[in-house]
Amino acid sequence: MTAKMNETHEDNGAPHLDPTTPRYLTPEIARIHLGSRNALHVTVLNDRIYGGVYAAYIFPVRQPRKFVSLRYKNAKGEEIEVGIIWNLEEWPQTDRALVEEALHRHYFVHTITHIHHIGWKYGFIAFDVQTDKGPAQFLMRWQHDRAHDYGRGGKVLLDVDENRYLIPDLGTLSDKEREEFLRYVYW
């Protein structure tokens, strides 16, 4: 995956992106496409082509389909925001798919679909679960900052290696699984 480096106005004559004002990208003024060596590129009308772009949610929990920030890292290592996609649904299917793929790449999160067993191990909570990426066993410290709320009914768990495990909605677990989960992660 490659991309042409983007620099500020001083570097290459491109229009300077004002970091103090949000720029909302719409299908009318921007195109999202793959550039050289299959890197994600964004072409903005009356501006330029940005390469090496990655996508990040602004409100990953509240509004995951809206407010997606498209960004790149310049040669100085500074993160620059190319623009914000206000609503992903408004974009053509191909553009949307590329952004979704970029988001998938940026967020390495296991989504827990079933809980087989939870128990104590070495003073940690030991999870044996089924995830969208296959079966997984992991250890989590029994601390509040290791399990965050995700929306109204979900939880994000961080294991000892800071890998993320998401339960989007505890309501989707079976009664037994939910009861077992809440016995340990009750906050």
Binding site: T2, R37, V160
Partner: protein, 772 residues
């Protein structure tokens, strides 16, 4: 390239099938000096992907999943690469290179592999610049993983929870009791005596019924009234004596219990606090204050519980069950067996109950600590709450936590309320069974086998038996909680021992070098350091500061300015490189000499609750009032102190409440003057004070920095005009260094910053002019 013993992590064996593919892109497998694998592919899915690096190029390979799919996913020659870097994603990261102004995402990795690829990026950076690289077994050393089992530790030097010896915990607790062994032994003897005494009354009751009240049913000759009265008085007197001895014995047990329990708790709390004082700042960055308070206060309190359990708790109950059980079998083994009928039910029910209710106790504990945390936050931030008129919001927030405590308590207590009557009912059933069977046997005059041979069961035996029955069931129920109590106790004790076992990261060297009269010659040699796992804050920085030199440090927030002074004071130890003062590595230097000769004035000076004088002389026992006055005069603090109602003896609140920011700062400067440090660090010393205070503080600083090596961090560049040299720090590197004039001539970052601040200042001036 220098290679010695192979690294297990960075010099893995590439699978044979991929070796052939590597050869196809003209990288000979035997020329590969770095070979490691990652767990993710660039689509963010699990896949084993390999990175192989030779002297001339790098390649990324993976087993093709479909026919026609290339095994080599990237091939980049070294000469093409302009930069190697790591970009952090969420839950993982990416190794990137820049080739001909093009970003190439080389590979992705999950957080499990993050440490490895940060190390790889460092090696590739050297490789790219054609520097000598060492890859060997020393690269496998990973302070963030347990060397024994590989479990990820919370921070460098953390105790591995998997490897900690749990069995030894009880032994360690018992060792703590060693100084009180004599008292503990007396306590246990008293407990045994108490158990023996508690068995007597039922025998006296038995005698009372069989001999005095209903002798006929026990086939005893009836007594005349006078004799019966004597017997009655004698037996009641004996009962009274038993109770008096029992109470005195109990008094002794409880007193000793309290003495030993509180003393051991005191000892433990002292040990934990002493340890906390020795631990590095890093440790306090990792744990919040509330948690540590809970450990020092709450968890150590468990020691008292342990002593109580040894005496009035489980030890006593075990003795009682054994003693009463023996008596029951001696009295009548047949009835004793009937007694045991509900016992399995009671034991099974109790185990089931505690298994369910125990996690709920944790919830109670959690709710209490949460409430304390909320209260702490609200009360500490009361100024902000009031400034934003958010009282009602905070009342609601507190109410939510308060409700949580109430509800969690209710859950436990409701469950206990269900359990206790149920167990009570089962007991009643047992009692009724004994009443019924025993009653029939008494009526029938049935012969039972007791210790003294066969004899008919009489009323006295039955009443006494029932008395013992309750004494048997009660401790039996409590013993079912032994495992749960033990688990809770071990958990709390374990948390306490975790602090005691945490290695002192900033430890004194085995042979500390004494530097009693520091000159203040500072050198940083290739220093790299990061607070967090994957983010170095300072990257390979080197500089030298001569004795007496005044250095200004400027840079954006987060650029690493404060980190430099944290490292110089050895609040943290560096990851790589060397920091020396007067040629001595600070890790080898005596900590007392090091910190005793470095004075720090912070942006937000911390003052303790106490008088102004106490704060000024903090840690300086020999200071005279004359010294103090001289220091406050030099710090422009004397006059405002004298305006306080009690002058230097004015009591100031927590964190210096009652004084303005500028006043607190001047006290802090006076403290630094009294300290008379050889190296003075000023960290944004004037940034949070008004202009008038700033002028007073600047004047004071000018006086005290004379002849001392001074490092001053400041956002307001005007405050650095007296510096001999200025360092411009950006993203963990010193990008410019020189005098003010040199840096202005350079027209670089410093010049830009000065220009921005001059413009801002100009705007303010014009604004003020307009207002006028």
């Amino acid at each position: 390239m220098v290679t010695t013993e192979r690294s297990r992590v960075l010099q893995k064996d590439l699978p044979h099938s991929l070796q052939d593919e590597l050869a196809k892109v003209h990288i000979q497998p035997n020329k590969v000096w770095l070979c490691t694998d990652t767990d993710l592919n660039l689509s963010g899915n699990y896949e084993q992907v390999w990175l192989a690096v030779s002297d001339d190029a790098l390649a990324v390979l993976a087993e093709p999943k479909q026919a026609g799919q290339p095994a080599v996913r990237h091939f980049i020659s070294r000469d093409e690469i302009q930069e190697v870097r790591v970009r952090q994603g969420v839950g993982g990261g990416f190794l990137e290179t820049i080739v001909d102004d093009i970003v190439v995402v080389v590979l992705a990795f999950s957080n499990v592999k993050a440490d490895i690829f940060h190390k790889v990026a460092g090696k590739l950076e050297q490789w790219m610049h054609k520097q000598a690289i060492e890859v060997d077994a020393s690269d496998d050393a990973d302070p963030r993983h347990c060397p024994k089992c590989g479990l990820t530790l919370q921070f460098k030097g953390d105790v591995c929870r998997r490897c900690v010896n749990r069995g030894a915990v009880l032994l360690r607790v018992l060792k703590l009791m060693r100084p009180y062994a004599d008292k503990a032994a007396i306590m246990m003897v008293l407990v045994l005596i108490g158990a023996g005494i508690s068995l007597i009354p039922q025998q006296l009751v038995r005698l009372l019924i069989n001999k005095v009240l209903a002798p006929e049913q026990a086939s005893n000759p009836p007594l005349d009234l006078a004799t019966a009265k004597h017997w009655l008085m004698g037996l009641v007197g004996a009962l009274l004596l038993t109770h008096i001895i029992g109470s005195l014995n109990n008094l002794g047990v409880l007193r000793l219990n309290s003495y030993v329990g509180t003393q051991i708790t005191y000892d433990m709390r002292k040990r934990v606090f002493d340890r906390l004082m020795q631990l590095s700042i890093d440790y306090f960055d990792r744990y919040n204050v509330g948690q540590l308070i809970s450990r020092v206060q709450g968890d150590t309190e468990q020691m008292k519980g342990f002593v109580q359990q040894l005496t009035t708790g489980f030890f006593q109950q075990i003795i009682m069950v054994l003693a009463v059980g023996t008596i029951l079998f001696i009295m009548s083994w047949q009835l004793a067996l009937v007694t045991l009928l509900p016992a399995p039910l009671v034991v099974a029910g109790s185990i089931w109950f505690w298994k369910r209710v125990y996690p709920r106790y944790y919830k109670v504990w959690d709710s209490n600590s949460k409430l304390a945390g909320v209260l702490n936050t609200i009360l500490s931030g009361m100024r902000v709450v009031k400034a934003f008129a958010q009282e009602s919001r905070e009342i609601n927030r507190f109410d939510r936590s308060n409700s949580y405590v109430r509800n969690s308590f209710r859950t436990v207590e409701y469950t206990v309320a269900k359990f206790n009557p149920t167990i009570g009912f089962i007991f009643q059933l047992g009692g009724l069974l004994v009443w019924f069977i025993g009653g029939i046997w008494v009526l029938q005059g049935r012969q039972i086998t007791a210790a003294g041979g066969k004899a008919p069961l009489n009323l006295g035996d039955l009443i006494s038996f029932l008395g013992y029955l309750w004494m048997f069931y009660q401790p039996l129920t409590q013993l079912t909680q032994l495992t749960n109590w033990l688990t809770g106790f071990l958990t709390a004790t374990h948390r306490t021992f975790e602090i005691l076992d945490t290695p002192i990261q900033i430890a004194e060297s085995d042979k500390p070098i004494s530097v009693p009269d520091m000159k203040g010659h500072i050198t940083f040699e290739n220093v790299t350091f990061g607070y967090d796992r994957h983010q170095p804050i300072l990257k390979n920085i080197s500089f030298e500061i001569k004795p007496g030199e005044r250095i200004g440090v400027v840079g954006k927030s987060g650029s690493g300015k404060t980190t430099i002074i944290n490292l110089l004071s050895r609040f943290y130890d560096i990851d790589h490189g060397r920091i020396a003062i007067d040629g001595v590595d600070i890790r080898e230097m005596s900590k007392t000499d090091l910190r005793g000769q470095i004075g720090v004035v912070l942006q937000e000076p911390f003052l303790f609750r106490g008088t102004i004088y106490d704060n000024l002389t903090y840690g300086l026992a020999d200071t005279t009032p004359e010294d103090v006055i001289a220091a406050t005069k030099a710090a422009n603090a004397h006059d405002f102190i004298m305006r306080q109602p009690l002058g230097y003896d004015t009591y100031i609140g927590e964190r210096g409440a009652g004084l303005s920011g500028g006043e607190r700062q001047r006290i802090s400067i006076a403290r630094a003057i009294l300290y008379n440090p050889k190296i003075l660090i000023l960290d944004e010393a004037t940034s949070s004070v008004d202009t008038e205070s700033e002028k007073l503080i600047q004047d004071a600083l000018l006086r005290i920095t004379k002849g001392r090596t001074t490092i001053a961090i400041a956002h307001r560049l005007s405050t650095l005009k007296n510096s001999d040299r200025i360092f411009v720090v950006n993203r963990g590197e010193i990008i410019e260094s020189g005098t003010h004039d040199e840096l202005m001539t350079l027209q670089g970052t410093y010049h830009k910053l000065v220009k921005i601040q001059t413009e801002l200042s100009g705007n303010v001036d014009s604004l003020q002019a307009n207002v006028k």
